[in-house]
């Protein structure tokens, strides 16, 4: 179980604790993005070239907020309204600069983080729903079924998945009109589904390994002898003990998925403008590199955002693994 002790150990691990705080702040900023006094991420101000950053100590805020958004969900619209009441037309100065179309980079980075979070969410759900179940069944089912199931995972894992994902997305692209007309699925939903569909493999493997160990553990044996049904054994005895490895695997899966999302969006195969993603921002930044004028902030902003979040996730994953691993408990 993730019981007492783990939390304390995690807090004691200074780096992990800072990472949790940082990631929490990022998550809150991302969810409450319309509430923050940022300029609108899609409000255009036509100009010839990207405007360089204005540091906050030079100019803190400006007037002239225009609530221009590409499309807003119901909650986001309410949040924007609330923001208008609180801050009026006040907005932050372009602390990170703007792109060539005059859109504020800070706002775009903050709003772009939502895409990463959605991708992470899709992967988390798929890992939990498919991966844990698949692994648990394989671990409990007995050697023959187990062998078949795990060889399937092996076979899938040995494929370079991004190629298949791109292939599928290329095909979905051709179908997008139909999909949205007939099933009400837009391309992004498909994108998240595909990302989820390929991110559960590691989870299945790890869970199966843990279940195999637990299967032969004395207390599970005792439950079986006492006449507990397989479902009960699974729910009450096996799953709680699988939880730590699940958590650790998740913290290690999420950064890879965020990378995949950014990667595909960068190639123009994931999220599409006017929606934002760190991958798209990076692609824009690279496009803007030219020998005459280097708009470095266009590259630096998404790079630092992505780098810091992924770095924090990796450090947190390592910290969690150390905290949950009974072998390292003494240290």
């Amino acid at each position: 179980m993730i019981g007492t002790g783990v939390w304390e150990r995690l807090r004691a691990h200074r780096a992990s604790w800072w990472c949790i705080l940082f990631l929490g702040a990022v998550a809150i900023a991302s969810l409450a993005a319309p509430l923050l006094p940022l300029p609108s991420p899609s409000a255009l101000a036509l100009q010839d070239e990207p405007a360089p950053p204005v540091p906050p100590w030079r100019e803190l805020v400006r007037h002239g907020f225009r609530p221009e958004f590409a499309d807003l969900s119901w909650t986001d619209a309410r949040l924007t309204e609330l923001r208008g009441r609180v801050f009026g037309d006040l907005q932050t100065a372009p602390w990170l600069g703007t792109d060539a179309k005059g859109r504020d980079l800070l706002a775009r980075v903050v709003f772009g983080s939502r895409t990463s979070i959605l991708a992470a969410l899709a992967a988390t759900l798929a890992s939990l729903a498919i991966g844990v179940l698949f692994g648990a069944v394989a671990g409990l089912a007995g050697p023959r079924v187990d062998n078949l199931m795990m060889r399937t995972v092996d076979a899938l894992q040995s494929l370079p998945f991004v190629f298949l994902v791109i292939f599928v997305i290329g095909i979905v692209n051709a179908y997008r009109a139909e999909l949205s007309d007939r099933f009400g699925i837009d391309r992004e939903t498909v994108f998240y589904l595909v990302i989820g569909a390929v991110s559960w493999l590691t989870m299945a493997r790890v869970v199966r390994g843990q279940v195999l160990v637990l299967r032969n553990a004395a207390f599970v044996e005792a439950a079986r002898v006492a006449g507990a049904s397989p479902a009960r054994i699974l729910a009450r005895h096996v799953l709680p003990n699988v939880l730590p490895v699940v958590v650790v695997t998740l913290t290690l899966t999420i950064p890879t998925v965020m990378l995949t999302e950014a990667f595909l969006s960068f190639l123009g195969l994931g999220i599409e403008p006017p929606k934002m993603s760190w991958g798209i921002l990076a692609a824009d930044g690279i496009e803007a590199i030219n020998p005459i004028r280097i708009a470095w902030w266009l590259v630096a902003a998404p790079a630092v955002a992505m780098g810091s979040v992924l770095f924090a996730l990796n450090v947190l994953g390592d910290g969690l693994r150390d905290a949950l691993d009974p072998r390292t408990r003494r240290s």
Binding site: F163, I166, F263, I286, P291, A303
Partner: protein
């Protein structure tokens, strides 16, 4: 060992067949075909085009013809290659058919031109990454707890967190524009390969460094290392001759995923640096619905990764007798 290899081969064939079949039906299920243009084609021309690529056949027949060298045509003529002279031999014979977007070339032609470039870039990145990563990992483990170790670990974690396109753009800004050491993009000389190889190899090197450090620390704590030290062997010999082989095992088993990572990363890196490799072809083919080309690259890359994975497993068995014993 032979049984093991045979089993791997069977699984590989089954997997690839499943992938090919699935993607074949997926791509045929798409209504908007590759011959849709802004201008509507004359119905006769369209019919002829479809007949030439055998898009008018029933699906199972198309699949069979795509897979193998089976002659299914009533007139004894199979679909021909892009130049109109060669006979299409089927995927099993290593022929992926005509490219749908580059009408004058077959997928085979395109791959023959582009694959060597991608492989050169990929192997350069992989070898460099393993060399740098191993060195960093070993130094880090040997100097455990020192500032050097801390710095190396932080650097490794940072590079693990940065996507290759970010590394690539920073490299371009620094080493091509700010300090023009290397060409910005394109392909031709070895200098063109340096920046892309660095961008591709960075995350791999970071991973190798972490794995090597962990493996090294584990072996350094073993009894035989203590024995070697107790014998009075110089520290250099203890580390290189006795401890290093143990640390190599986790690195070796990472090489398969690393190769997959390099191939994946090459999609982005080849695009950024405008390198005419298979990766750029693949991305373009996905964007302009060149299904045969996309399929060809997918199959070839799957085969490469699978072969490397198997090779790694073979090495693993040779290096570590325990593996061979437990997984028959």
């Amino acid at each position: 060992m032979i049984r093991f290899l045979a089993r791997r081969l069977v699984w590989f064939a089954a997997t690839l067949l499943a992938v090919v079949t699935l993607s074949f039906f997926l791509m045929r299920a798409v209504r908007g075909g590759p011959f849709d243009a802004e201008r509507r084609l004359d119905p006769t021309i369209e019919r002829n085009l479809r007949a030439r690529y055998h898009l008018d056949w029933p699906l199972w027949k198309q699949l069979a013809a795509y897979l193998g060298p089976i002659n299914l045509d009533a007139h004894g003529a199979r679909a021909v290659g892009g130049d109109g002279t060669r006979v299409f031999a089927g995927v099993l014979a290593g022929d992926f058919g005509p490219s749908l977007a580059y009408r004058d070339q077959t997928v085979g032609d395109l791959l023959r031109e582009s694959l060597p470039i991608s492989l050169a870039l990929g192997s350069l990145a992989l070898l460099g990454a393993v060399a740098v990563g191993l060195a960093a990992g070993v130094v880090s483990a040997v100097r455990r707890g020192t500032p050097l170790d801390a710095v190396l670990r932080v650097v490794a974690t940072v590079f693990l967190a940065l996507p290759s396109f970010v590394v690539a753009s920073v490299l371009v800004i620094l080493l091509a524009f700010a300090w023009p050491l290397f060409p910005v993009a394109g392909f031709g000389t070895w200098r063109h390969l340096v920046l892309p190889a660095l961008a591709l190899g960075a995350p791999i090197a970071a991973n190798v460094a972490r794995l090597a450090r962990t493996g090294m620390l584990e072996t350094l704590g073993q009894d035989f290392v203590r024995t070697a030290r107790a014998k009075g062997l110089p520290e250099r010999i203890v580390i290189l001759r006795h401890a290093l082989p143990g640390a190599l095992l986790p690195v070796a088993s990472y090489l398969g995923p690393a190769a997959a990572g390099v191939l994946t990363g090459s999609l982005v890196v080849e695009r950024i640096f405008a390198i005419p490799g298979a990766g750029s072809h693949f991305v373009n083919s996905a964007l302009n619905r060149d299904y045969t080309l996309a399929m060809g690259v997918t199959i070839v890359y799957c085969a490469i990764v699978y072969a490397l994975n198997t090779l790694v497993d073979v090495f693993h068995r040779l290096l570590d007798p325990r593996v061979a014993a437990e997984g028959a």
